[in-house]
């Protein structure tokens, strides 16, 4: 089956429009993949809607950052990656990709709600979470900083002789492309020819700053050639386009063709954070092609292509809403970290007090 998809551009080498999602034309395989992507999109959306309510009700301390509008891109990437084998460094708006890559919803609610049982144990919050030993590093806030980290994880595997077939991926925003970290990291990955996929979710704004104040090229994908890496542009509101292009980029990286840059065009459908109403986004942007909601588009595509029925989708809504509810309820009843029982050491080694030889006591939570 050749799936129909919205127009997509590509930058050398070209990816034909309507290119199949996977390397084979097996309808079943595409069907499974697309349903799986959609599940993660929907789970993420429902979870984030809930986070937004919790924020507005004053139940979350600190910021809440949503991936609304970016789910098709993020979930496709997360689904194309293989948990336990690949690496994924999610960024601000990657709830859908995290879910697709296997992060349980409870990791999210625990981190937002400050549960001591979460992966960050109240030490860090919101989107600053991960499970580094499970292939998913915890982002620091500094934009671009995860690019070389993913490169390093892959580099380690090469040295250990277990790189073959693995991919490492990360997402950044249009704004993050202006950072030195993005540039140094991507260039280094290109020099080392690492199997890396970097997705730029160009949602047209970095906080309030429009693309026109962020870069001067026509399309960020034009950067790919300057790094000597593969480049793709894709309509990020179109699930079928994402599925086609992102899986192709992942496949090429996995095949050993070096880093691949995918620039996805979309619009952030929320404020920068939930404290922000995003009123600086002009109405034209909200009303134009990229202003459409990828979940609506995907719903339509799944139904039109006979990949899911309206009924099924409705039942997923119910099922995922329940999951979200449980994840929130559980995190809410869990204990907060206790400053008096907190281990206030930033070092895993106990060398300072006793003057002993290095005595590692590291234990991942």
């Amino acid at each position: 089956m050749r799936l129909q998809s919205s127009p997509l551009n590509s930058y050398p080498p070209p990816v034909a429009q309507g290119h199949p999602i996977a390397t084979n034309d097996d309808v079943a395989a595409n069907r499974k993949f697309l349903r799986s992507v959609f599940h993660s999109m929907l789970r993420a959306r429902l979870l984030e809607n809930k986070l937004s309510s919790l924020y507005k009700a004053g139940k979350i301390v600190g910021g809440v950052y949503l991936g609304k509008g970016q789910e098709a891109v993020s979930a496709t990437l997360g689904t194309a990656l293989i948990p336990g084998q690949d690496f994924f460094a999610p960024l601000i708006r990657d709830q859908a990709g995290r879910t697709a890559f296997g992060e349980p919803l409870i990791d999210c609610t625990r981190t937002y709600l400050g549960s001591a049982s979460g992966p960050m144990r109240g030490r860090d919050g919101n989107i600053h979470r991960g499970r580094p030993t499970m292939g998913m590093p915890a982002m620091i806030s500094h934009l671009g900083a995860q690019v070389p980290v993913i490169a390093g994880m892959l580099f380690a595997k090469r040295l250990q002789g277990t790189l073959a077939g693995r991919v490492g991926a990360t997402c950044v925003g249009d704004g993050a492309t202006s950072t030195g970290a993005f540039h140094e990291g991507l260039n280094l990955a290109a020099v080392e020819k690492l199997p890396m996929v970097v997705i730029v979710a160009n949602n047209q704004f970095a906080y309030s700053t429009p693309n026109t104040r962020q870069f001067a090229c026509n399309d960020l994908v034009e950067k790919a050639r300057g790094y000597g890496i593969g480049g793709f542009a894709v309509d990020g509101t179109d699930l079928l386009a994402c599925a086609s292009v992102i899986t192709e980029a992942v496949r090429r990286a996995r095949e050993g063709r070096g880093p691949q840059l995918v620039v996805a065009h979309l619009l952030r459908l929320s404020g920068h954070g939930e404290h922000d109403d995003g009123s600086y986004v002009p109405r034209e942007n909200r009303e134009d092609h990229y202003g459409r909601d990828c979940i609506d588009i995907a719903t339509r595509q799944l139904i039109d292509h006979g990949i899911a029925t309206e009924e099924e989708i409705k039942s997923w809504h119910q099922q995922f809403a329940d999951e979200v509810q449980r994840a929130v309820a559980q995190a809410q009843q869990e204990a907060a970290p206790d400053p008096y029982h907190e281990d206030w050491s930033a070092l895993s080694s106990r060398i300072s007090a006793a003057h002993q030889s290095p005595n590692p006591t590291a234990q991942p939570s």
Binding site: I60, V61, G62, G63, G114, M120, G122, R123, D124, G125, N126, H128, I140, S141, H142, L143, G175, A176, S178, T179, G180, A181, A206, Y207, S208, T209, R213, Q214, F215, Y280, A336, P337, D338, P339, Y340, E342, W344, S345, A346
Partner: protein, 321 residues
């Protein structure tokens, strides 16, 4: 009418834009949006072509400011959070800070750092970097603790021919209010005694001044008179005021919100004992944040930084020595 600390910073920038054509503002989301903390709200409209949204390029933002300063401008660069100045570190400490000594040409830039912790901000939106920048020759590092100081010190910072790291405290932004901006103010380089006392001196700066005052108020109920010194500027350090206070009280506690190794409190204590050893009746003490990244959870955060309670406790120990 009342005015917050962030209002004062906004007002200062408005005054500067109005009165000095050499001033311009450069930073992320500071133009139409008015900045992440609204420190530049309305300024882009009021002063066309003087307030610019920058790309997310802290290193280049400061580099651009240095170049503009060479050509006679007085740029104010806003970092969205102090923590992100780590990206601009090289341009600040190696380009801006060394320039006058090397070339004889001063670099009058002001880098505004929204600093310090607030509940739920976590490791990367809470840092206090004054003790990092103060180590570098060629930088002036200011840490206003009052609404009036926020205003006047920013005006003074831009008037200085040297690069200034202007550490604003985010917790004070909306929490700290004043009726108006006072007209008289101290020059840069001079500390202020914000509360006179005779039994012990607390040297603090930025948000910790207010925590120290609270601790002093509570101890006052027990009959202790604690003198609180607001450093205002951590580089240069006004050791005259510190030593004069310690001469009166014989006891010193230095309080800072930054990490415990080195930093402002170490410098204050080390200089006090070196220059005023004989004035001391008890071992001078320090109270800093704990030696871990700033935690996200408000409960951990409250136990990570000095509080009126922990300052009080440290003072009681000092008074009972």
């Amino acid at each position: 009418m009342s005015l917050t600390y962030i209002d004062a910073i906004r007002e200062a920038q408005e005054t500067l834009l109005r009165e000095d054509p050499r001033v311009f503002l450069y930073g992320q989301d500071i133009a139409t949006f008015g900045g992440a903390f609204k420190a530049t709200k309305g300024l882009a409209e009021a002063f066309p072509n003087r307030v610019f949204d920058s790309p997310i390029s802290e290193d280049a933002m400061v580099g651009l400011a240095v170049g503009a300063a060479i050509e006679g401008m007085r740029p104010i660069v806003e970092m969205q959070f102090a923590d992100f100045s780590s990206i601009a570190f090289n341009q600040i400490v190696n380009q801006a800070a060394t320039h006058f000594y090397r070339t004889g040409v001063p670099i009058p830039i002001t880098v505004r750092l929204p600093s310090g912790g607030t509940p739920g901000s976590g490791p990367f939106h809470s840092q206090s970097m004054e003790g990092i920048y103060a180590q570098y020759p060629g930088l002036v590092v200011l840490t206003p603790a009052s609404v009036s100081d926020a205003y006047h010190m920013l005006i003074d910072a831009v008037a200085l021919d040297d690069p200034v790291i202007f550490c604003e405290h985010k917790f004070l932004y909306r929490w700290l209010k004043a009726k108006s901006i006072q007209n008289d103010h101290l020059p840069i380089g001079q500390a202020r005694i914000v509360r006179p006392g005779k039994h012990a001196t607390v040297v603090a700066y930025s948000a910790m001044v207010h925590e120290a005052v609270r601790a002093a108020e509570r101890l006052h109920e027990d009959g202790w008179e604690i003198e609180v010194v607001d450093l205002r500027s951590v580089k240069p350090l006004d050791m005259d005021t510190v030593l004069a206070s310690v001469a009166r009280t014989g006891r010193l506690l230095a309080v800072g919100e930054a990490f415990p190794w080195g930093g402002v409190t170490a410098e204050v204590v080390a200089r006090t004992v070196s220059e005023g050893f004989h004035l001391l009746d008890a071992p001078p003490q320090r109270l800093n944040a704990r030696d871990t990244p700033v935690p996200y959870h408000p409960k951990l955060w409250a136990a990570h930084r000095p509080t009126p309670e922990s300052i009080q406790e440290a003072l009681r120990k000092l008074l009972n020595f």
